[in-house]
Assembly symmetry: C4
Homo-oligomer: 250 residues x 4
């Protein structure tokens, strides 16, 4: 199992916060990360490929091929804004072992650029109709939990599948602090309302000056990107047996 990391630039960051934005339930994290990248004009500085990603090429409307990828963007905060490292991509790893290695490499990058705090995002799928979606959280420890609770998030019980949970838990073992923030969603993809719900308090906490009125644009862009990648379709019977396409937050 091999992750390949390409670092294109080595930005000087001041105590940056890692924001995880890979695809999952409701594509909440994915939309939020894309929106941040666009609004803040965050810069791509590293790319990660894993042999636990899908073994296919994805074609764009313009006839170009891409491979499943995770990307790292950075943003140097203005005035009172915190510096950011944003993890964005079109997939998580397909296997348990692959998820562990992916998290390990993401933490390597975060440490390498001075990050000690992370926020992971996700959706919390609800079968029933949601009138007023709520936020839920779980944290590395007392301090980070307080940060999350201050956002009005309730404490989550049970397991958190996927990278959003694993990254906080494995990060904790390396001394990272942080929390996982989940917004209720029916899972209709991609859920701009749930993305808004997570992004608003995060921007407040980190002093980020971001206009959130265009989140539906990011959601639509996410939908188009994912669709052209074939990633919004139901996984085929065969694929489902092998791994799991996407594994979001239950």
């Amino acid at each position: 199992m091999v992750c390949t990391l390409h670092i294109h630039e080595r930005p000087e960051l001041n105590n940056p916060v890692l924001i995880e934005g890979l695809p999952g339930i409701g594509f909440v994290a994915n939309i939020a990360a894309l929106h941040l990248i666009r609004e803040l004009k965050a810069k791509l500085f590293a790319e990660l490929h894993s042999s636990a990603f899908q073994d296919f090429a994805i074609t764009t409307e313009q006839g170009k091929t891409n491979s499943p990828i995770n990307e790292f963007y950075y943003y140097k905060g203005q005035h009172a804004e915190r510096d950011l490292i944003i993890l964005y991509g079109n997939t998580q790893a397909l296997t348990t072992m692959g998820q562990y290695e992916l998290c390990g490499r993401v933490l390597d990058v975060a440490q390498d650029f001075g990050c000690k705090y992370m926020i992971t995002l996700g959706g919390l799928r609800r079968e029933e109709k949601i009138t007023t979606p709520k936020l839920y959280c779980a944290a590395s420890g007392r301090e980070a939990l307080k940060d999350a609770r201050n956002m009005g998030a309730e404490i989550l019980g049970g397991q958190i599948f996927g990278i959003a949970g694993l990254l906080v838990a494995l990060g904790k073992l390396r001394g990272f602090k942080g929390f996982c923030l989940l917004a209720e969603t029916t899972g209709f993809y991609p859920d701009a309302v749930a993305a808004h719900l997570t992004l608003k308090p995060i921007c407040e906490m980190l002093g980020l000056n971001v206009n959130l009125s265009q989140l539906d644009v990011a959601a639509e862009a996410t939908r188009k990107i994912l669709e052209s990648f074939g990633l919004l379709e139901a996984p085929s019977e065969d694929r489902r047996k092998e791994g799991s396409g996407f594994r979001g937050l239950v």
Copy 2:
């Protein structure tokens, strides 16, 4: 497949006995180990994570995240008591290869701290109602078998799945002596009676001064820990295809 071992303290132990207490059928080993740790105030000295553990975070009632883990505790015996290394945790590895590597690392730790003898515990599932549960055993060799037989355990035929069997068998290849002790259980989780059945003769053999009257407390604590970890639920259909949640002793 990578196991990560963190050693927090290097206790001086005198010919310690390794007691395996990971989750399995009836959570017999898990309850017994937790009880020993609490009663003897055994100290955590090492932690082990494996990419063959579940790729999720588990949240506590207090909103904190944890990852699947195996822990090593030590106890320095008083008077005639034997020194102990207790292996405790909330999971075994999910894959065959992961179980082999996990056993290898556990044996590394045991050797590193001077251990040459091990006792592994487990439940032996019975479909029918059990009026007087019995003990069964299998051992690395003649000497250890005698130790187990002296406890009133009958000889077990067939395979012993999971870490309880594999650890004795692979330990034998490295010169370890020891035995596997299994108590009959209907598998209703977690079985304090079966745990008592195994723990009583072990305490006698090792001269351990442990009050066993509170084993139901350890069983209840095990139930709560496991429940909050989501580990008492039936594994989902998907999970069952991939690996096996828990693999205890059949």
Copy 3:
């Protein structure tokens, strides 16, 4: 996961083009590669085995055993012809991770012999009857896309499974240019018409002086080779669960 590479000869090649010809849908690439090898009298210079290939031996009509294999052939162009590296074989890797490693090793070989451009081939399965099969393409970038479009190929949307897609996408990360060329086929094995459709414009583009009138002979040879290897049979139920026999281009 280990690939073993044996290099028998180190030819001096002048800016060679890699042509991928492993089995897939309609065996389009396989037929085309075999035909090129035979017509151009291309020479075998390297062999690759992977532990992600099938774990069986294949017997020939003459009672000899062979193992699943990928082979590299070279051709030094005459006059205006381009030099070639042809990847030929009787299988792709059975697992996702195996496909990634296989592609990595193929790219290693290509780089080692000065290759910077690749053409991968495949079939595009159609359920309905095909009266006039069309060509489709996806490319590493603008320049290669133009090369493919000049062949009359339309732009393909969606994912490209198998080595034909992955090789272009992973090659792009290492600076390779190139495209994937897919011919429509009903998937009735092996499809000489579809092979002809891909090979004709490739020969024109690369200035290759190849007689294409005998492609049905290569198709029949492919059929016989594959049949004696047991590779034309439907994969057994068990096999299908494990991996995927062949994974061609959908």
Copy 4:
């Protein structure tokens, strides 16, 4: 994936022949190897464990634990007898990758002790009633095929699953010569008649002075060993999904 090899003794062997005798269809190879070991009083000189073997312990009637294992025995021929290396064990590897690594390690040992020729054994399952079972063969090349054909074996078409096929095919890549010899069997375990059918011409070819009248004893011993190891039972539904218990020769 790790194989662990323990070499207990380094015998001086004169151009030994490797005879493969792991469990498979009809346990033909397993019976034959056990019989040779017993009759020739062959000596154990190396042991091999793999993390791709089953992750359980197997208990003997005497209450001792063993792990799945492959063993190497040697025999120094008397007079005109050839020296032998006999590969014996209670399992093959459970995964494709594991089979490849296992074969690699077996070939390492064989090369290390000067072996250049191998004979692998197996059963060829027939659905219908067999009145006069026949022998089939496949070989590394012309010379070895002649050896096998001289035994009256017919040429086999198709694939040879399991170690019997893979070992000859992978050995060929390293310069080994040899053949695979398969006896027809209904697969009723273990088939002493089929074992006799393979062993008789092998003893003649290698000048081995072995009494074959007691093969039913070896078959019965094989049955008992395997039964106590639980290896004659049908693999559970779960296991079958993961790998394949035993994979013999189809």
